[in-house]
Subunit: 78 residues, 12 copies
Amino acid sequence: MASVARITTISSRSDVSFEDAVKQGIARASETLRGVEGAWVKDHVVNIRDGAITSWQVTLEVTFVLDDSGHPVDASAD
Amino acid sequence: MASVARITTISSRSDVSFEDAVKQGIARASETLRGVEGAWVKDHVVNIRDGAITSWQVTLEVTFVLDDSGHPVDASAD
Amino acid sequence: MASVARITTISSRSDVSFEDAVKQGIARASETLRGVEGAWVKDHVVNIRDGAITSWQVTLEVTFVLDDSGHPVDASAD
Amino acid sequence: MASVARITTISSRSDVSFEDAVKQGIARASETLRGVEGAWVKDHVVNIRDGAITSWQVTLEVTFVLDDSGHPVDASAD
Amino acid sequence: MASVARITTISSRSDVSFEDAVKQGIARASETLRGVEGAWVKDHVVNIRDGAITSWQVTLEVTFVLDDSGHPVDASAD
Amino acid sequence: MASVARITTISSRSDVSFEDAVKQGIARASETLRGVEGAWVKDHVVNIRDGAITSWQVTLEVTFVLDDSGHPVDASAD
Amino acid sequence: MASVARITTISSRSDVSFEDAVKQGIARASETLRGVEGAWVKDHVVNIRDGAITSWQVTLEVTFVLDDSGHPVDASAD
Amino acid sequence: MASVARITTISSRSDVSFEDAVKQGIARASETLRGVEGAWVKDHVVNIRDGAITSWQVTLEVTFVLDDSGHPVDASAD
Amino acid sequence: MASVARITTISSRSDVSFEDAVKQGIARASETLRGVEGAWVKDHVVNIRDGAITSWQVTLEVTFVLDDSGHPVDASAD
Amino acid sequence: MASVARITTISSRSDVSFEDAVKQGIARASETLRGVEGAWVKDHVVNIRDGAITSWQVTLEVTFVLDDSGHPVDASAD
Amino acid sequence: MASVARITTISSRSDVSFEDAVKQGIARASETLRGVEGAWVKDHVVNIRDGAITSWQVTLEVTFVLDDSGHPVDASAD
Amino acid sequence: MASVARITTISSRSDVSFEDAVKQGIARASETLRGVEGAWVKDHVVNIRDGAITSWQVTLEVTFVLDDSGHPVDASAD
């Protein structure tokens, strides 16, 4: 039996920390996608103004399995 | 005249072989997408339990052309 | 406050130049997506027949922010 | 609760096919290691003599979990 | 005078944070190895179920010096 | 109108956490440079003695815009 | 005594399988070159039409030793 | 039916632009090779003297199919 | 006789084209540095607003030789 | 007949030269391992104090074949 | 307590050997910078005329700690 | 005026040292090619038997300019 998943790339930004950015990105992806299984943190970046870090940003490669109908719940977040 | 294609990443897993995983992944992608033209096999992985290979898994970067309306047939597999 | 964007990969081809291919790719992506913010030109390729360049082709990683509803305008180009 | 695994690199060679080389490598690793979970096929190489392929060779990054005692069964294959 | 060290790869997973996963991995490696000097965090991954992060996982390349006898304390974690 | 920025690489080390190392590195860079806009965290490393993590170290690629005179404030941190 | 080899890149395509593509590529290279010793499979790609795989394609980096005269047998395949 | 192509690397330099360098390189390759199908622009470099750009240089990986006899037209450009 | 050069990274942005961005970046670097010899275009990016490209941006690794005194003319652009 | 080798990573440091570091690393690995066949020099680093090079350091990926019993001679250097 | 270092890239060329090029590069960097701690040899290149090697060239990523005042001794080599 | 060069890959092996392998490879390439300008040392490998280094091997990417007729002197080394 074969099984197929998709991998999509998102960028998520938090004003708290990298780990908060990961959590926010996963939470946002899970609102519109079923079957999110994991994510690889591809990049860590900070944005800065006047010497202060204004946001912590991560790029995530998110994997989610396609359901039986072959459709993720909401294509808009696909 | 310009022409535009999209590249999407899927992961496909077979209990037979890597080439079966490639075939299954392409078959699954072609159910919902028109204009699939090719795929690059980015990674080959095996999953193992009790010393036996339980699945052969590939990551594919699939290219498909956008049709005239600019819409793939089914956004859910997009 | 967190903010989330998506990164999608397209391939665009022009018979004029690489920069025209970039423009065409961005124009096409912007027809169906709101919030396109930027693109990284990942690869430059030329296609050739009978010693002449028939098209200039670029691969673009396009970033677009998700709107408040968390939906891009048209999932088909997602 | 934390969990720790190890990743070791082996090279395996078969005179039949790449997939046989993967199977042989996994079989050999599983003789001396408990808890082998998966392997990434990092490289595919063929060796050639007099125009004929004499062996199909793969490099594998093998992951195995450490057991409760923190010891793999046989350190020699570690 | 020459000095020789070894580099081994481990994967460590915590249900708290990436930094806890690093700490747990180093603690586990130090139980069986003398002379651990440092580690490079090669990858950051999160595992997810039902929209929640179930574990924070890092891959570490751990460097440890070989002692005078040329033996790490416990080969099993080697 | 053209605009030009510079990218410089620093390594920063904290005895608290990776994020503290990022903050310390940015703070240090901002003492001598005007116009720091962002930083990419290129590598994460831990230094270890007697089984304990003694410092958390990051390599940062810091981007800063050149001011009108084309001079960063203090070349020493350039 | 020094020994020198050359490394040349070919792309080979089969309608059967990746391994058949490797065999065909090696057979073709060996028709015109003496001393072929091995090949690294750099990339695996499939070409697709109407949802079916039309060819399995590999890129090979082929190594061959130069003979005593320093000439491969047939420069045309060089 | 198998089909085999070769990939050769050239560097081409123009005093006009990167795209002129690509055109010149392709024109030069096509003088001595039949069946040139495409090229990947691997690198873009500028050479500079006294603050002025003296040449625009590209590295190209050129693909050409081998003809029926298995010989490119002119081995010298091979 | 040894000779030493330095390599510095800049990012340059034009509202006209990538090649204009390269020219602007080189012009800017040459105002403050003597002995600029060449530059590698490491990345090509476009910035976009409301579906239109607002700037063409390149990252350049610029090489310049150190003069006899070992000092570039103006350290601020160093 | 299948054959399996292992690849282990060591770091070796000499106060003489890079090539001495390679020799020392291989000598050290060969004390405890049978069947060492080759090594790839992955990195070259120098350590410096007060403007003088204090050591020449290489990272080596060492390949050794497993003997019939499937055991390297001394697991401690494994 | 945090500590910050900088990493700068130089290219050094000798007519003797790669190791002489490394030594010359480090000597030159140490004339103007305090606190040079190490260097990674990123690339090895030879330049050739009339079949003879005219120079051995290395690219070095040099790390140096910033002193208490946060200033390297001479910004010009920075 | 455009100028075109070719880049070819060779592997050269010496029983003395890496630098001797570079010299031998360049000497061998220069026997059959005019216009060799430089080479990048892409990889350093040692071959080992019975604990002793039997050869020092380098992979070289050799650049040579094409002469006016567009023909290298001897295609066989091409």
